[in-house]
Every structure is written in structure tokens, then in C-alpha cells.
């Protein structure tokens, strides 16, 4: 039995338990639970961050074969939203014909810069671009901006390897800087590599690695008052992937085209008929992409600046990142910071009971009658019904053990009608360990044998009957309540505990959502404010396509 994480072998059947049917007839399926890992670094208090006013925006075009090697790309260097330099760069092994097309283009097209910028389009090899423009960007700590950053930065690398250090372990280490010697390219160890680790399709961790012989000014932290270099400090870069930021701000996956439309970018993305062949039109297309990306960056940064939070924009990986930053703005530290002695095993139990959002279709390709239902702000509604804001703002959260009998009694009396009484929801803040035996519960398994990715599903769950005592699992009480309602039977509970909030944080302070809607965490339920003020909020998208519901 795994109490705070790991794999458990349980039978997970899509068919209802039948008294005559042995669960062992089903094929066992390993399931996985989340773990609470101890020993993570406590994050230090972030000092206010000043977003650089300079940004380097770039985009690359590649061959359309499987190598996807760089053909050419373009960049714009902006300070305070004004483009001061624009240019093209090209891959080292570009055919002569393509090179000449680029050369002719540069000779006949001016740069799209302001009056005080460089009027001529720059024309650089990949190495020149890295050695001059990218090096300036590294030294002056610009924002490095692209849409789908990992792809474009990887096209600029001349060599790659496997990243070894946390948190990039298993990701890529990209070498951008090189020097020629003895007819071969060599990695320049006096320049940093870039490490990338993809989290999912919208997010990736990105950072410069350390380098040999870092200059003093590169070892001065962003927020330094004294300007003194600090031993051991490494500048990790300000990488801004607009795909990630658009997702964090809207909770939607965007393409460059859709993000430009959603945020009202003046010069949005254009389309091209044919990719991969270097022509003047194709170069126009690439330059337009960079223009669209730079205008989108300005729009997204404006939108982000409306949030009164202390979170580097380059670290806003998801809407949850922004939500957590709001908690910080309201003077609400993480539980373990306010209560370092909170029993870790209970964090482990609760973590194993955590299942994220899920969408499922149980009956496919069959016509059935349906009832259309719509849930507005389901997560905050559930949070508000359970009165979870008390926990968020509590000075201390207490664990009340040995609640098994109380919870069994509660479940025995529970009817579906009780759930229409808000008072019932407030008593659901408990966890129980049960031995599943045909209960309908969430589990995480490799349900698709082809993709073998871990997915959450709500199915009939059975412990291995030959070893059931060791296969008890923790579930949150709401999940157990759902099972009781669906199966009309009580689960076999082996242990249970309840969480009780006590006191109130002294550090609570009001904030304003999007600098407009006041929230007083002392006197208001934040979740309720979010629900009630959701519709009156000015939509985050100028053309009004936003406001998703779940």
C-alpha cells in the first residue's frame, strides 16, 4: 500500500459491480497517485521586479524536411515599445540562391524602425546574430521574446545535449555560441548555453546556464542596491514565451494568429501559401510575424501590468501562477510558511487524493437524450460552498484524527437533497482512506494503451481482493460523497481525518483584481467575489471573445 504516493495495482473496471461477477475477472490496471515530496527549497521572498524596457523579438523559418534546420529568421530590437533595429539572419548552410534572395531583399527594403533607429535592415549570419545581438541581449538582460520560444531558440542552436541539472533534468541544453578552430566548430564555454524543459504544449522552463569567466556585471542580481557582484549568482535570463503568457492571462491555448485577434493587435499574423522556399514574399511573411509578435508582446505586457502582483512576467506560467501571486498580494503565505510544523504525512494523504479537472464522455457515438447543463465558475463555486476561504486565511489548520465513525454516520444519512443545502457542503472538508470495492471514484491510469499517458477517470474501482488490506487509498470527502450518491452504497473506510481552520492571519491586506475590483480578504470570501464580479469585469480581450466558462 502506498500512503503518500507511488503506484498501486487496483482493478479499474468500466462496468458496475455485480454481486455475481468477480472483480478479479477484470484485468488489473496500475494506477498512480500524486505524491508530496519533502525537502523542496523554500522560496525566498521575491523582491519587486522591474520589467526590462528593452526586448529582442525574433522568429525563425526552417526547412520543411525532418531536420527543420534554420533557413533564415528576423528580429526586432525595441526599447520602450519603439523599434530601433530590425534585421534578418540566415543559417550557415543556406544555399547560394537563397542567400542571394535574402541579400537582394535587404538591399531593396528599409527597416521598419522609428526615425531614431537604424534605417537599414541588418543582414547577419546566425553566428553574427548570436555574437552581436543575442550577446547584447544577454549582457543587457533584455526580454527575449518569441511565440513558442522553445522551437525558435532551438533553431538558433548549433548543437544540443541533455540538460542535467534541476529543474531542467531530462530537457535540452542548447549551445548558441561557438567558435571555429581547426576546421571545426567548438562550444564557447565563456558564453552560456540555454536550457529548456518542456512542461506541456504551452509551457516550458527556460534559462541560461552558468558560464566560465562570467564578468562582474553579469554577477550582479537584478535588484542589487549596491551594484556589487555576488558570489554564486548566475543570470538566468528573461525569456518570455508569448504562448505561455497568453495562456496565463486567458486560460486558453492560443496560436499567434488567435492571440493577435484576441488582444486587438494592429498588424496581426498573415498567412503564406508556401513554406520553406525563400522568396521576397516569404521574407515579408516572416518579418510580419515578428512585427505581430512584438505588438502582441506590448499588448500582453500592458494587460499583465493591470494585475497588482509581484510576479515576474517571465514566471507567469499559468493562470494558477497569477492566482498564487494574488494570494501573496493579499498577505497570504503558503501553509508551510505560516505553519512549518504541519504534519507532513497528512499533506501526503491529501496530495494522493488530489485529482485535477477532468472531462469525460462515457457514451460515445450513440444517440442518447441529453440535458444541457452549464456551470459558471465551477471551481470557485465549489470552493465557496465548502467555505474554503476560511482555510486560506486561517492562522493555523488543525488535523482532527479518528473521524471514521463520524464520517460513516454522515454518509449513511446523506441524500441527494442534502446537497442542495449549502450547510452540507461546509462539512465536506475531510479525507477518508477506503478500500475500493466497486465504488465510483477518480483514479489516474494509462487508460489509452496507444498513448500510454496518465489520465484521470471516474470509474468503478476495485482493490485486488487477494491483497485488499494493503490497497486502501485516500480520497477527499466530496469524491466519496459522489460515489455514495452514484452507487447508493457506503465504501469501506479504514481511516479518516478532518481539517479545521483556526484563527486568522494577521498579515491579510486588501488588493484590487485587475486594479479595479477591491477584495478585502478579512471580510470577503475571495471565491465569491470572483464569481459575482466575473461578468461585470471588462473582458480581457478587446474584441470580446473571452470569458470562458467551466
Amino acid at each position: 500500500m502506498v500512503q503518500n504516493g507511488g503506484l498501486a495495482h487496483l482493478s479499474n473496471s468500466l462496468h458496475p459491480r455485480d454481486q455475481n461477477e468477480s472483480a478479479t475477472e477484470s484485468e488489473p490496471l496500475p494506477i498512480a497517485v500524486r505524491v508530496y515530496p519533502e525537502g523542496g527549497k523554500q522560496k525566498s521572498e521575491a523582491s519587486p521586479w522591474q520589467c526590462p524596457d528593452a526586448m529582442l523579438v525574433f522568429d525563425t523559418e526552417t526547412r520543411i524536411d525532418q531536420t527543420q534546420r534554420l533557413t533564415f529568421g528576423s528580429f526586432r530590437f525595441l526599447v520602450a515599445g519603439r523599434c530601433l533595429e530590425e534585421g534578418l539572419f540566415y543559417g550557415a548552410d543556406l544555399p547560394d540562391k537563397d542567400y542571394q534572395t535574402l541579400e537582394r531583399y535587404v538591399a531593396s527594403h528599409p527597416a521598419g524602425t522609428v526615425e531614431s533607429g537604424v534605417q537599414k535592415l541588418a543582414f547577419l549570419s546566425r553566428r553574427e546574430f548570436i555574437d552581436k545581438i543575442f550577446h547584447d541581449a544577454y549582457k543587457a538582460q533584455f526580454l527575449l521574446v518569441a511565440f513558442n520560444f522553445p522551437f525558435d531558440i532551438s533553431r538558433l542552436a548549433w548543437k544540443f545535449g541533455t540538460a542535467r541539472r534541476q529543474p531542467f533534468t531530462g530537457g535540452f541544453s542548447l549551445e548558441l555560441w561557438s567558435y571555429p578552430a581547426n576546421g571545426q566548430e567548438h562550444t564557447n564555454r565563456f558564453r552560456p548555453s540555454v536550457r529548456i524543459k518542456q512542461i506541456d504544449s504551452k509551457r516550458a522552463l527556460k534559462g541560461f546556464a552558468g558560464r566560465k569567466g562570467a564578468d562582474d556585471e553579469d554577477r550582479i542580481p537584478d535588484d542589487s542596491e549596491t551594484g556589487e557582484p555576488e558570489e554564486g549568482y548566475t543570470f538566468r535570463g528573461h525569456f518570455l514565451d508569448l504562448r505561455t503568457l497568453a495562456f496565463a492571462l486567458t486560460d486558453r491555448g492560443h496560436t499567434l494568429e488567435s492571440a493577435c485577434k484576441a488582444f486587438g493587435v494592429e498588424h496581426g499574423k498573415q498567412r503564406v501559401k508556401r513554406h520553406g522556399v525563400v522568396t521576397a514574399k516569404y521574407i515579408d511573411y516572416n518579418r510580419r510575424d515578428v512585427l505581430a509578435t512584438s505588438e502582441l508582446a506590448i499588448k500582453l505586457l500592458e494587460e499583465y501590468s493591470r494585475h497588482p502582483i509581484n510576479l515576474q512576467v517571465t514566471k507567469a506560467y499559468s493562470p494558477a501562477s497569477i492566482g498564487k501571486a494574488y494570494l501573496h498580494a493579499m498577505g497570504i503565505p503558503p501553509v508551510l510558511q505560516r505553519q512549518p510544523d504541519f504534519p507532513k504525512e497528512y499533506l501526503g494523504y491529501a496530495t494522493t487524493a488530489f485529482f485535477g479537472g477532468r472531462t469525460s464522455a462515457h457514451i460515445r457515438k450513440t444517440t442518447v437524450p441529453v440535458v444541457y447543463t452549464d456551470f459558471l465558475s465551477m471551481y470557485p463555486t465549489v470552493n465557496s460552498l465548502m467555505d474554503l476561504w476560511r482555510f486560506v486565511t486561517a492562522k493555523e489548520i488543525k488535523v482532527v484524527q479518528g473521524c471514521q465513525a463520524e464520517i460513516e454516520q454522515f454518509l449513511q444519512k446523506l441524500t441527494p437533497d442534502d446537497l442542495f443545502n449549502p450547510v452540507t457542503w461546509k462539512s465536506l472538508t475531510a479525507f477518508a482512506q477506503i478500500i475500493p470495492d466497486g465504488d465510483i471514484l477518480p483514479s489516474r491510469g494509462e487508460y489509452n494503451p496507444d498513448t500510454k499517458d496518465w489520465q484521470v477517470a471516474v470509474n468503478y474501482l476495485h482493490a485486488d481482493r487477494n491483497n485488499s488490506e494493503n490497497q486502501a487509498l485516500w480520497f477527499s470527502l466530496p469524491d466519496i460523497v459522489a460515489s455514495v450518491i452514484l452507487t447508493n452504497r457506503l465504501p469501506r473506510i479504514t481511516s479518516a481525518f478532518r481539517l479545521v481552520p483556526t484563527g486568522e492571519l494577521e498579515s491579510l491586506q486588501p488588493t484590487k483584481l485587475l486594479n479595479e475590483i477591491s477584495v478585502d480578504p478579512k471580510n470577503e470570501d475571495f471565491f465569491r467575489v470572483v464569481i459575482e464580479r466575473r461578468d461585470p469585469l471588462p473582458k480581457f480581450v478587446p474584441n470580446g471573445t473571452g470569458n470562458s466558462r467551466c
Binding site: S116, A140, Q141, E217, G227, E228
Partner: protein, 167 residues
């Protein structure tokens, strides 16, 4: 309209400015409050600017600035030391290196240096010697309006300078 010349190497100029600022942190001269990083003496404790340092040593607080670059022309103009370091020297760093250094004494590059230096110096003089007057006049106008109303100049010797045809 602000006076801004087209940049030759904007990313390089920005890098120089930012790295100089980072090296100084948020320091200011403890005597005069000068905050331009290029004007501050590196690693000075307490922080002091070049002008105050020279004053304390009894030295001249002006530099002879080779406006065209030392390699291009020997002529110099006296410039306050802090401005020399923070404005005119940094402006020369935006020139092409071959023009600034002119190692072989090319007459064309020397002429280019003279033109570039003349433009930089004129812009400096406009900013330092002229533009402040406009700002001072505007401040004085605001103060007079506050004290005597919007037509404060009527009945004063300054009325003769009012634009003709103004109501």
C-alpha cells in the same frame, strides 16, 4: 520634439548604458546627488562623482574633449567632466570603431569623425545650453498664471512680446 540622432548600434548602446547602471546599483554621489552611472567613480566609498572628486582634490572640473576623436583631430572643447564621461564619451561609442580609432590615419574617416563629433557636440550644447531655457520659461509662466491670472502680462513691459492678434 526630442533631439535624438539615428543610432548606428542601438543594442550595443543600450547594453553599455544598462551594464554601467548595473555596476553602480542605485548609488548616487553623496555630495551632489549625481546619479548617471558613467559619471560616478567606480568602487568609491562613499560614492562620489568625478566632478566632486576633482573639486575635493582642488583639480579642474572640466575636461578637454576631443570632439572628433583623438585619432581624427587634435582640437578640443572644454566640457564639465561629468558630462564628458556620461554624454559625449558614450556618444562616441556609438560611432563605427574604425572611425573612432582610425588606426591608419585615413583622411576620410578623420572627416567622418569631425562630422560626427560636431553633431554630437551641437546636440549636447542644445540640450545643456538652450533647452533648459524653454523649460524655465514654461515654469515661470505657470507660476505667474497662478499668482496673477491667465493674462498676467497685460499692462507690463512684456506685453509688447505677446503674439500679434492674440486675444
Amino acid at each position: 520634439m526630442s533631439i535624438e540622432l539615428p543610432r548606428r548600434d542601438p543594442s550595443g548602446a543600450y547594453r553599455r548604458k544598462v551594464t554601467a547602471a548595473r555596476r553602480q546599483g542605485k548609488k548616487k554621489c553623496h555630495k551632489c546627488g549625481e546619479a548617471r552611472p558613467e559619471a560616478l567613480i567606480p568602487k568609491s566609498h562613499p560614492v562620489i562623482c568625478a566632478k566632486c572628486k576633482r573639486e575635493s582634490l582642488g583639480h579642474s572640473t572640466t575636461d578637454n574633449h576631443h570632439f572628433a576623436g583623438q585619432a581624427n583631430h587634435p582640437a578640443t572643447v572644454p566640457i564639465p567632466v561629468n558630462d564628458h564621461r556620461a554624454d559625449l564619451n558614450t556618444a562616441q561609442l556609438d560611432w563605427q570603431e574604425k572611425t573612432r580609432k582610425n588606426p591608419d590615419g585615413c583622411p576620410l574617416l578623420a572627416a567622418a569623425g569631425c562630422i560626427r563629433g560636431f553633431v554630437d557636440t551641437v546636440i549636447y550644447l542644445i540640450k545643456k545650453g538652450v533647452l533648459w531655457i524653454a523649460e524655465m520659461l514654461e515654469s515661470a509662466h505657470d507660476w505667474l498664471v497662478e499668482q496673477f491670472g491667465p493674462k498676467w502680462w497685460v499692462g507690463t513691459p512684456l506685453e509688447q512680446f505677446a503674439p500679434k492678434g492674440s486675444k
